[in-house]
C-alpha cells in the first residue's frame, strides 16, 4: 500500500511548463533578432542594441511589478500614470534644491504611498482593483498637471540626466537597473514565503485565509511593489528625457500588462513568473525597434503587438488544456 517513490521523477507540470514557456519566449526573441539582423543592416549595431535595451528596460521593470499584482488576481492600471507623476515629483524636488539622494528616496516613497492607497481601497473599502487603480490613473495625471501648471519642469542636475546615457561594462545602465530589480524580484517571488502567499491569494483567497495567510497584508504588498517599481521607472524616465512631465508614459500600463501576459502570467491569477514578463517586455521592445528600422508605419506596431498577444496567449491556453 505504499506509494511508489520512483514515480517522484515523473514530469512536474508546474515547473516544466514554466521553463517550457520561458524557452519558447527566448526562442521567439532570438528568432526576431536573427530576422531583423538579416533584413536590415542597422539592427546589429552597438548603438541600436543599446537603444533596444534602453527601450525595453522601463517596460520590463513595470511588467515585473505588474506581475506581482496580476498573480493575486488583481490588476494595476495606474502604473503609467505613476511613471509620469513621479517624473514630475523628482524634477520638482531637484528644482527646489533637494539633494539627489533624498529626491530619489522621497520619489520612491511616493510610490510606496500610492501602492498602499491601492491596498487600502481594495482591502478596507472593498473596491475592485480595476476601479481603484483606474481612479488613481486619472487623478495622478491631474495632480501632476496641477503641480507643473500644465507644462514641464526641466531637470538641470547633470549627474542625474547623464545616468541614463551611461554604460557600464558596455551595457546601458538602464539595463543594469532591470537586473537590479529582477534578482530581488526573483528571490521574492520564487524563493520566499511571501511569493507563495501571492500565488495562494490569487488562487483562492478563502483557502489562503483559513490556512493562516494574512491575505490583506499580501494584497497591500503586491500593490506597493507594483507602484514602487513604477516610481522607480519614473526616476529612470526623468533621467532619460531630462524633464518632469505628467503626461509622459501614456499607455505604459497596457504595455506592462501585455508584457506580463505574453510572459505567461494568467489574468485569472496564481500563474506567473519573473523571467516571463522580462522576456515579454523585450519582445515588445524588439517589435517596436524593428518596425522603426524597417520604416514600417508606427501604426503597424500596435497591430502587430495586438496580434502577438492573441497568438501567444492562445497557444499558452492550448498547452495548459493539453497538459490536463
Amino acid at each position: 500500500m505504499s506509494v511508489d517513490t520512483t514515480t517522484e521523477s515523473a514530469p512536474a507540470p508546474k515547473k516544466g511548463t514554466n521553463i517550457l514557456l520561458g524557452l519558447t519566449l527566448l526562442g521567439l526573441l532570438l528568432f526576431l533578432w536573427l530576422l531583423l539582423g538579416l533584413s536590415t543592416n542597422a539592427f546589429w549595431t552597438p548603438n541600436n542594441i543599446s537603444n533596444l535595451l534602453r527601450q525595453g528596460a522601463m517596460t520590463a521593470i513595470l511588467a515585473v511589478g505588474q506581475t506581482f499584482v496580476i498573480i493575486t488576481a488583481g490588476i494595476d492600471l495606474s502604473v503609467g500614470a505613476i511613471v509620469g507623476f513621479t517624473s514630475v515629483i523628482v524634477a520638482w524636488l531637484l528644482q527646489a534644491g533637494v539633494p539627489l539622494w533624498l529626491s530619489i528616496i522621497l520619489t520612491l516613497l511616493i510610490g510606496v504611498a500610492i501602492g498602499a492607497f491601492h491596498g487600502f481601497g481594495i482591502v478596507r473599502m472593498g473596491l475592485p482593483p480595476f476601479i481603484i487603480t483606474l481612479a488613481t490613473l486619472t487623478s495622478l495625471r491631474g495632480i501632476g498637471l496641477l503641480i507643473t501648471n500644465g507644462s514641464t519642469i526641466s531637470i538641470s542636475h547633470e549627474g542625474f540626466t547623464n545616468f541614463s546615457r551611461a554604460d557600464f561594462l558596455g551595457v546601458p545602465s538602464l539595463f543594469w537597473m532591470v537586473i537590479l530589480v529582477a534578482i530581488p524580484a526573483f528571490v521574492f517571488l520564487h524563493l520566499s514565503r511571501w511569493g507563495r502567499y501571492l500565488f495562494a491569494v490569487g488562487s483562492n483567497k478563502e483557502a489562503a485565509r483559513l490556512s493562516g495567510v494574512n491575505v490583506d497584508r499580501t494584497i497591500y504588498l503586491a500593490y506597493i511593489l507594483s507602484a514602487t517599481c513604477a516610481a522607480f521607472v519614473g526616476l529612470l524616465l526623468a533621467s532619460r528625457i531630462g524633464i518632469g512631465n505628467a503626461t509622459q508614459a501614456e499607455g505604459w500600463e497596457l504595455q506592462a500588462i501585455a508584457s506580463s501576459v505574453i510572459g505567461g502570467t494568467s489574468l485569472f491569477g496564481a500563474v506567473g513568473s519573473v523571467h516571463g514578463p522580462l522576456l515579454g517586455a523585450f519582445i515588445l521592445a524588439t517589435i517596436n525597434n524593428g518596425a522603426n528600422l524597417l520604416n514600417l508605419n508606427s501604426f503597424w506596431q500596435r497591430i502587430i503587438t495586438g496580434l502577438l498577444i492573441i497568438v501567444i496567449v492562445y497557444f499558452d491556453q492550448l498547452r495548459r488544456r493539453g497538459s490536463r
Binding site: 505504499s2 507563495r196 500565488f199 483559513l210 496564481a270
Partner: protein, 517 residues
C-alpha cells in the same frame, strides 16, 4: 383539462412529437448501454446498463461520490459520455448538449435552484419560453397562467412575487412547476427534499405521482431510504461509480439496499478507536455570532464531538466563529481552562486549532496550485530561514504527507485540481497534519469521497485521537456522526437543541430534533 396540462400541451404542439417517439406505458423509454464517463484517468461512472420505463418512478440511490451526479449530468447533456450508447425511444441519441436533452423532453430539477432570484416567479417559470404578442412580452397573461398552474398543483405560491423572496424550499417547488409545464417526458429530481419542510415535501410527492400517472418517467435521486420506499416503483443502486443492481421496490428492503450501497458492514467502515479521554481542550460558553447563538459545548482530548444538523443549521458558522474567521458577538471560549479571545485565523492556529472547511473547492484548497504548496501553506513561516524558504524541507514535508496519507499522485508538483475528491480531502488534512494541532475541526470531511477513502479518513481520526488531539466532526450524514461521535450535539436554526452520548439516542430521535417537528 387542468391548466398544467393545457400549458404542457402548448409545448407538445411546438415540439411536434413524431409518431415513432410515442412509447406505451411500461415500455423502455431510455436505455443506457455501457454508459461510461472518465475524467482523465478517474472513472466517475463505470460502464452502466440501466433501462428506464415510460411512466415509472425510478429511484437512484448511492452514497456521495457513487456517481449519481455524473449520471444526471450525462442524461441532461451537461457532460458528454466517454463510451457507451444511449437509446431514446429505441433509437440511439447523442445527448451532447443540454438543449438536445430538453428538446427531447428530458429535464432535471436540481438540488440547488438554478433560476434568477431577481425575476418574478412567473417570469422564471416562462424563462426562455415567454408568451409574446407583436414581439412584446405578455406579462399579465404569463402571470395569470403561472398562477393557474401553481394553484392547480396546490402550491399556494404568488406568481407575481420575486423568486428571491421565497424560501429555498418554495423556490424548489417553482423549479418543479417550471419543469412540469414544459411538456416533459422524463424528469430527474436530484435530492429535491434536502431543503423542503415536511409539508412542502408532501406537496412535491403529490406532484411527482401525478406526473407519473400522466405517463412521465421520473428519476428520483435521494439517499433518504424512507422516501425511496414511499415513492418509487423500481430502484437502481450505484456504488463507487458502478451500477450494482436494479430492484423492484416490492421485492427489496432497506437492508438489502444499504448492503448494496456500501458493500461492507457498518462496523468495518465506522471503525472507532477506543482512546482514553483526557482533559478538556476547549470549551465554549454561550458562544454567539452570525448564524449561531448561545452554543455551549466542550471537547476533551481523545474524543470526537459530533455536530449534526441540516444544512444552514449553524454548525459550520459555529466552527468558523470558533476559528476566528467570523466575529463572535457574545460568549466565551476557554482553551486549556483559560479564557481566550480568538479574533483571527492566525490566533486560532497558534492556539492549536485546525479547520478542514466545508467546501474543498471554495475554502479548502488552492486548486490551480501544486499539491506541495497546498500542504505547506500553513507552515511556510516555519519552513523559512531569514528571507527564503528552505526548499529541501519544503519538498520533504510535502512528500512525507503524500506518503503517509497515501495521496495518489506521481509528484507533489501536480496541481490539486487534478486530484479526485478523496485525494483532495487528504491534501486538506495533510495541510493540518504538517501544522500540527490539538483540536481538529472537520466540516463535512467525507462529502464526495468514496467509501474506501472514507474508511481511511475515519482511521486517521483514530490516529489523531491517540496522539491526544480532540476532534469536532460536523456532518449532515447521520450514520457518520452517529457511529463515530463520543458526544453528539444536534443543531437547529443556529442553536444547539439536543445532546446525546455515543449511540444513546435513536436515528429517528436525532432526525426529529434536527428537523424540529
Amino acid at each position: 383539462m387542468s391548466s398544467l396540462e393545457e400549458l404542457s400541451h402548448r409545448h407538445e404542439d411546438e415540439a411536434k412529437l413524431t409518431e415513432s417517439e410515442a412509447v406505451p406505458r411500461g415500455a423502455p423509454i431510455l436505455e443506457l448501454r455501457g454508459l461510461q464517463k472518465k475524467y482523465g484517468l478517474v472513472e466517475a461512472l463505470k460502464p452502466a446498463t440501466i433501462t428506464f420505463l415510460a411512466g415509472e418512478i425510478h429511484a437512484i440511490v448511492g452514497e456521495n461520490g457513487a456517481g449519481k451526479s455524473t449520471l444526471i449530468k450525462l442524461l441532461t447533456g451537461v457532460i458528454r459520455r466517454t463510451a457507451g450508447e444511449v437509446l431514446w425511444c429505441g433509437k440511439p441519441v447523442q445527448l451532447a448538449t443540454p438543449n438536445e436533452a430538453i428538446s427531447r423532453g428530458i429535464n432535471a430539477v436540481h438540488q440547488e435552484v438554478v433560476l434568477c432570484p431577481h425575476l418574478s416567479v412567473a417570469a422564471n417559470m416562462f424563462l426562455g419560453d415567454e408568451m409574446n404578442r407583436y414581439g412584446l412580452m405578455r406579462k399579465g397573461a404569463m402571470e395569470r397562467a403561472a398562477q393557474a398552474v401553481l394553484d392547480d398543483l396546490g402550491f399556494q405560491l404568488p406568481a407575481a412575487a420575486l423568486l428571491g423572496s421565497l424560501t429555498i424550499g418554495q423556490q424548489q417547488l417553482v423549479a418543479t412547476a417550471r419543469a412540469a409545464m414544459r411538456g416533459i417526458r422524463f424528469l430527474i429530481f436530484d435530492e429535491p427534499t434536502a431543503y423542503l419542510t415536511r409539508q412542502e415535501s408532501a406537496q412535491l410527492f403529490r406532484l411527482i405521482r401525478r406526473l407519473r400517472d400522466q405517463g412521465v418517467t421520473i428519476v428520483y435521486i435521494s439517499h433518504r431510504m424512507e422516501e425511496v420506499f414511499e415513492l418509487a416503483d423500481r430502484v437502481s443502486v450505484l456504488r463507487d461509480g458502478t451500477h450494482v443492481g436494479t430492484r423492484l421496490i416490492s421485492e427489496t428492503n432497506e437492508n438489502e439496499l444499504i448492503a448494496l450501497m456500501i458493500n461492507r458492514s457498518i462496523e468495518q467502515i465506522y471503525h472507532k478507536e477506543k482512546v482514553p479521554v483526557g482533559k478538556v481542550i476547549v470549551e465554549t460558553r454561550g458562544l454567539s455570532g452570525p448564524g449561531f447563538s448561545d452554543v455551549s459545548l466542550s471537547v476533551r482530548a481523545g474524543e470526537i464531538v459530533g455536530l449534526y444538523g441540516l444544512i444552514g443549521a449553524g454548525r459550520s458558522e459555529f466552527a468558523l466563529g470558533l476559528y476566528g474567521r467570523q466575529p463572535v458577538s457574545a460568549g466565551e471560549i476557554f482553551w486549556d481552562g483559560a479564557k481566550v479571545e480568538i479574533r483571527n485565523e492566525r490566533q486560532a492556529m497558534e492556539l492549536g486549532i485546525a479547520l478542514a472547511p466545508e467546501s474543498r473547492r471554495d475554502q479548502g484548497l488552492c486548486l490551480n496550485l501544486p499539491i506541495g504548496l497546498n500542504i505547506n501553506l500553513p507552515i511556510f513561516r516555519r519552513l523559512s530561514s531569514g528571507l527564503t524558504i528552505r526548499r529541501g524541507d519544503e519538498a520533504a514535508n510535502a512528500d512525507r504527507q503524500i506518503r503517509d496519507l497515501r495521496i495518489k499522485t506521481p509528484s507533489r508538483r501536480v496541481l490539486a485540481s487534478a486530484m479526485s475528491g478523496g485525494n483532495q480531502q487528504k491534501i486538506v488534512i495533510g495541510k493540518w497534519l504538517s501544522h500540527g494541532a490539538r483540536l481538529f475541526i472537520f466540516d463535512e470531511p467525507t462529502v464526495g469521497v468514496d467509501v474506501g477513502t472514507k474508511a481511511e479518513i475515519y482511521r486517521l481520526f483514530g490516529e489523531l485521537l491517540k496522539q491526544g488531539a480532540g476532534i469536532i466532526l460536523i456532518s449532515s450524514y447521520l450514520p457518520e456522526v452517529y457511529e463515530l461521535a463520543d458526544r453528539l450535539h444536534v443543531f437547529r436554526g443556529g442553536r444547539l437543541v439536543a445532546s446525546h452520548d455515543h449511540r444513546a439516542a435513536t436515528h429517528e430521535d436525532v432526525l426529529t430534533q434536527a428537523i424540529g417537528i
